[in-house]
């Protein structure tokens, strides 16, 4: 199952807070697609997700995270 959220216009670290809470609501193996602003958001949210042990892919301004 894939869920998508648009976090453009949401700055760090609130974008990671919202991503993290959205991931908590998913089942392991589910995917979350997150649209982020360029710059710090698209750089740091994938890093935080990887540090928490999730599988992460970045394509353009969308980060796809597979919940661990």
């Amino acid at each position: 199952m894939q869920t998508a959220i648009d976090l453009t216009g949401v700055a760090c670290p609130m974008n990671w807070v919202k991503t993290k809470l959205a991931l908590e609501r998913l089942a392991p193996g589910d995917e979350l697609a997150v649209r982020l602003d360029p710059g710090e958001p698209i750089e740091s949210v994938p890093r935080s997700a990887r540090e928490d042990g999730h599988e992460v892919a970045v394509e353009g301004d969308v980060v796809t995270i597979v919940r661990r």
Binding site: M14, W16, V17, K18, K20, L21, E24, S48
Partner: protein, 257 residues
């Protein structure tokens, strides 16, 4: 229970912690904490619990604010001298975080009222300044299986012990009897630097948060001893006493959460 946008922002710097989660935040929000004492330990303990987002906090103190309290009790300010301490603390805490329900109990906790005060709490934080109160809090928490954070501070020395009644050593297991009256100087006689109490009260808040949320490992069966002169910390192991008059009869069977 969901978190509002303003709660997400208020708690964002703890929500980003890998050890923390939305679930932990919600557990904290649905919890009731009772802080016994609105003084040197109670000020930091209650402040950090309210700031972190505990849902409901009761604060117990029968005294009024005195000028000589202010060097170590940072919830009370100079214009507060003469005000009722529990009520003044509740006022300050309510301004710090209006999302928390804060109730003042302007009474002295004793053996008679302790059971009613701790009833239904998820954690009790003992920030009292007398052995009689400490044993009354411990016994009431054991009887009702309410997790408890005990602490004391005197001079540059402090100690902290977290208690899961029926599972870990209680205050009586560790310190079976009250020291004879007069053998230990009270805080009033012995003195303390506020910052030392601030360390110990902050540790109590953190321990209470751990007991409520299950995040981290609380100081159960372990007494933290702090000597702030050289900032030395020692952990001393303790265990339950089978014949403990407060908790000896409790079985380890966990209560449903």
């Amino acid at each position: 229970m969901t978190l509002s946008e303003s709660e997400l922002e208020r708690y964002s710097r703890q929500l980003v912690l890998p050890e923390w989660s939305g679930e932990a935040q919600e557990r904290l929000k649905s919890a009731t904490a009772i802080v016994v004492g609105a003084g040197a330990l109670g000020s930091p303990a209650a402040t950090y619990l309210v700031a972190a987002g505990v849902g409901h906090l009761g604060i117990v103190d029968e005294d009024v604010v005195e000028l000589s309290n202010l060097h170590r009790q940072p919830l009370h300010f100079t214009p507060d001298v003469g005000r009722q301490k529990a009520e003044n603390a509740a006022l300050k805490l309510g301004v710090l975080n209006p999302d928390v329900q804060v109730d003042p109990y302007p009474v002295r906790l004793d053996e008679q009222n302790a059971p009613a005060i701790v009833m239904g709490a998820d954690v009790v934080v003992d920030c009292s300044d007398s052995f009689a109160t400490r044993y009354a809090v411990n016994d009431a928490c054991c009887a009702q299986r309410v997790p408890l954070v005990e602490a004391g501070v005197l001079g540059f020395d402090g100690l902290v012990l977290s208690i899961k009644p029926g599972e870990s050593a209680c205050y009586r297991c560790a310190f079976l009897t009250e020291p004879p009256a007069g053998s230990v100087p009270s805080c009033r006689e012995a003195g303390v630097l506020g910052a030392t109490a601030g360390i110990v009260g902050s540790i109590q808040a953190l321990e209470a948060i751990k007991l409520i949320t299950g995040v981290g490992e609380p100081l159960v069966d372990r007494i933290l001893q702090l000597d702030a002169r050289g900032m030395e910390q020692t952990i001393v192991s303790t265990t339950r006493r089978a014949d403990c008059p407060a908790c000896g009869r409790l079985t380890a069977a966990p209560q449903s959460a």
